[in-house]
């Protein structure tokens, strides 16, 4: 073989290889971009499920219409109110990262960051909490699960009251209702102390209601940085209050105290008579600010679902009310210590600082609801 021949032969092969590589990259790019968000979430869910043992999978999976599991969420620590599914604590590192990848796929980057900050806050709480806990592993599983009409009892394999660990970033539970699918509806739940994400996926639609976010401490230092998981909610709500004129404030500020969430866990599907200032009495700029406050909750879910939801809430805006109760001032860089509520035809948002001894600005519960569409029921009925 001459030199000339070899070069002739080699050249096309090299070309072919390069071309194939380029084509492969392009193809994968095209498929990724053509893939819908739901397809990505479904793939993440199936990946997560495939990492589990058969026993774990059974604990994670529920029927789509399991009303008990749907409502098995709370603001309270998991030791008191057991959740369904399995916790990050019970998972190996691979399973854990697959679980978090699934949660991340269903949320916007901002929403996922909020969730991580809430979980990290619970870790701070665990470290600063001086609680003794019971003897390690002492009475695990011995006590009957708590009853009550609130969240129904869990499967019983979780640390009940008095177990060593009360808080921490690994005490968050994941469960899947129905079969992950791009067509038929299913649900992803992720939550623990101060967190309850109920995400219904129905085709390309994504519904985040009802969802609870909370934080304690609602202001902490992590990696040398000050973190306020629900800081934007506090700041934007306060900015809107400040933007109101005296007449509007008079309407928006309620004359009575609100010690807690009105429509917290267990209060699905209820629509109370709205109060406060109606957004039709606001200026265009104030209405835009109100929508911006709302987006802190509506924007937790992934972008395309959030966009659809914001469009709905924007159409409702003139029928949306803003009410405030409590102090009308806030220290710089701190959270408000006042309660506020935003209510519209398809929306209830409550921001409720908790007065449990300490600074109410350090302990916050918030609720995000659509009374007409709990767990996507309204959408699926149509």
């Amino acid at each position: 073989m001459t030199d000339r021949e070899s070069s002739v032969n080699l050249f096309p092969i090299r070309m072919l290889r390069t071309n194939a590589a380029v084509a492969a990259i392009w193809l994968s790019l095209i498929t990724v971009s053509a893939q819908t968000t739901t397809a990505r979430i479904v793939r993440a869910a199936n990946t997560f499920l495939s990492t589990l043992t058969e026993k774990q999978r059974q604990s994670v999976l529920f029927a789509f219409d399991d009303e008990q599991q749907r409502a098995r969420w709370s603001n309270l620590p998991t030791g008191f109110i057991p959740r369904g599914g399995i916790s990050l604590k019970e998972m190996n590192p691979t399973q854990r990262s697959a679980a978090m990848a699934l949660v991340a796929a269903a949320l916007s980057p901002k929403g996922f960051e909020k969730v991580q900050q809430i979980m990290e806050g619970d870790e701070v709480l665990r470290k600063t909490d001086t609680g003794p806990g019971g003897p390690p592993g002492g009475n695990r599983g011995n006590r009957p699960p708590p009853g009550g009409k609130g969240p129904p009892p869990g499967a019983g394999n979780r640390p009940p009251m008095g177990d060593g660990q009360m808080f921490g970033k690994d005490l968050y539970y994941i469960s899947i209702l129905g079969t992950p699918s791009e067509k038929t509806p299913w649900m992803l739940q992720f939550g623990g102390h101060h967190l309850a994400l109920n995400i219904t996926i129905a085709g390309e639609r994504g519904i985040l209601t009802p969802t609870l976010t909370g934080a304690q401490p609602a202001l902490y230092t992590f990696d040398g940085k000050t973190v306020r998981p629900l800081g934007p909610e506090s700041d934007k709500g306060f900015a809107l209050l400040q933007a109101l004129d005296d007449k509007q404030r008079k309407q928006a500020i309620l004359s009575y105290q609100l010690a807690d969430l009105v429509l917290g866990p267990g209060q699905d599907g209820k629509t109370i008579v709205p109060e406060g200032l109606k957004a039709s009495e606001m200026t265009e700029h104030q209405r835009a600010m109100l929508l911006d406050v709302i987006s802190e909750w509506a924007g937790i879910i992934h972008e395309s679902a959030a966009t659809a939801r914001m469009a709905q809430l924007k159409a409702d805006i003139n029928e949306t009310w803003f009410a405030w109760s409590g102090p009308t001032t806030v220290a710089l860089g701190k959270n408000i210590t006042a309660y506020y509520r935003i209510q519209g035809p398809h929306l209830v948002i409550e921001y409720a600082p908790q007065t449990l001894g300490g600074d109410p600005g350090l302990h916050v519960h918030t609720m995000y609801r659509d009374p007409t569409n709990d767990y996507g029921k309204g959408l699926l009925k149509q």
Binding site: F80, I81, M161, Q216, Q257, V262, K270, E319, L356
Partner: protein
């Protein structure tokens, strides 16, 4: 260290730990009321905080055996109901226990247990305006109360107001209930009217109507622009002549009346549910109506038919008024009095505006300055209407509203200035005309071509 604390001060630590998650020294009592036709239902969520739970549990567990029996649960629930004071229209009502549900005692001790109590109360017969007062005195020294009302399931029950004291231990609910099933339709109708008058207030709706038209600059703009050429007559295809005073006034009255008749008809039809039109097309049509009347003020396109046009577009403006009423939850047939009050408010404000601007218009029309006002006004309205059409069709932001709103905010000053200017023009015209064209003195009675 940790172990020492555990053994040394377990109870204290328990409190500290619990403080991280739980209600402390308050007894949260959250009530949600739902109003039905002949009874109310209420659900109470009761959560004793950790510092008060022991005493609450002790008071419930009357025999002290550490178990809360069914009998003890019911007895406690009855005691809670006994601590409520419920009155409807001043009559004291007896709450009836429907169900009681207790959490585990351990959960309650931790300050996490939710006691659920459901009760109902029959409503006494009464008029359409009802006032319910709920006072909760249970564990008043450490209670944190919440009281709310659900949006009623029945459309004939309308919540008018909620009043609470700061602690929410006192809660007053005012609502209007359309007549009972026993009364005759006529009687019911009358009761509704009476109810609406006293409940929401004829006066407040009347004011609302006035405010609506005063702030709804587009409605007024349409009317005013249509009135601009009213003192003129057509020569050829132009506004070239002056109508006499009497026929000018008559024409203005005709236009205003026609507009009123038009919008009253559709307002009533929409409120009775006969017609139902989506808001946005109406808003666009209203802007079109302004454009049409602005063009007409520049060049007569329907001379002599102003009243008919006013009536026709009045029909459209009425639909917009109806949309406003229904936004307030008032656009229903049983609110005849509300509609009447609202419409009268609109009429009154309209009359005030016309009465204020008409003298200026008539005075000025007798001067050479009038084309400036007519053309200037028509151009302003025309531009505004084009802007509105674009805004409303494309849903762009309301830049036009800002400009028109700024003008409207100074409406009183503008009207005053207009009157002074027209007076001045009138004076000047007299002297000026006498010097220049003495014949123009007869202008009031016969048409005199005026240059445009």
């Amino acid at each position: 260290m940790r172990l020492r604390i555990v053994t040394a001060a377990a109870v204290l630590l328990c409190l500290v730990r619990i403080a991280s998650a739980h209600r402390l020294d308050e007894y949260l009592q959250a009530t949600i009321i739902s109003v039905d036709k002949d009874h109310i239902q209420a659900s109470m969520r009761m959560i004793p905080g950790i510092a008060v739970s022991s005493s609450v549990i002790a008071s419930i567990d009357s025999n002290g055996d550490g178990i809360i029996s069914d009998a003890e649960q019911r007895a406690y629930a009855e005691r809670v109901l006994g601590d409520l004071s419920l009155t409807v229209d001043g009559k004291r009502m007896q709450p009836k226990l429907v169900s009681v549900d207790f959490p585990q005692v351990e959960l309650m001790r931790e300050g996490l247990g939710e006691i659920h109590i459901e009760f109902t109360a029959d409503l006494p017969h009464g008029g359409p305006n009802r006032r319910l007062i709920l006072q909760n005195n249970h564990q008043k020294q450490n209670a944190a109360y919440l009281v709310n009302c659900l949006v009623p399931r029945y459309p004939d029950i309308r919540i008018v107001g909620q009043t609470r004291n700061e602690r929410q231990s006192f809660y007053q609910l005012d609502y209007v209930q359309a007549g009972g099933p026993t009364s005759s339709p006529l009687r019911q109708w009358w009761t509704n009217i009476r109810g609406s008058i006293s409940a929401l207030g004829f006066v407040s709706l009347f004011r609302l109507g006035m405010r609506h038209i005063a702030e709804g600059t587009d409605h007024l703009l349409f009317l005013l622009v249509l009135l601009l050429p009213a003192p003129l007559i057509v020569v050829g295809s132009r506004w070239a002549g002056l109508a006499d005073m009497r026929s000018s006034v008559l024409r203005i009255l005709k236009i205003v009346t026609a507009f009123t008749v038009g919008h009253s008809i559709t307002l009533a039809l929409a409120a009775f549910g006969v017609v139902r039109v989506p808001g946005r097309p109406i808003e666009v049509l209203i802007a079109v109506s302004i454009l049409v009347s602005a063009i007409h003020a520049l060049r007569p396109i329907f001379p002599g038919k102003e009243a008919g046009i006013a009536a026709f577009f009045g029909l459209i403006h009425g639909l917009a008024f109806a949309a406003t009423l229904s936004e307030l939850g008032l656009g229903r047939w049983d609110r005849v009095a509300d509609i009447l009050a609202f419409n009268l408010g609109i009429e009154t404000m309209q009359m005030i505006v016309v009465a204020v601007t008409m003298p200026s218009l008539l005075l000025m029309s007798r001067t050479r300055a009038y084309p400036v006002l007519r053309i200037g006004g028509a151009l302003f309205a025309g531009l505004a209407s084009v802007g509105w059409i674009a805004d409303r069709l494309l849903g762009m932001h309301r830049s036009v509203d800002l400009v028109v709103g700024a003008v409207a905010r100074h409406a009183v000053w503008i009207a005053g200035a207009l009157f002074l200017i027209s007076l001045a023009c009138w004076r000047l015209r007299y002297t000026f005309v006498r010097q220049a064209t003495p014949t123009a003195r007869f202008v009031g009675d016969s048409a005199e071509p005026v240059e445009i």
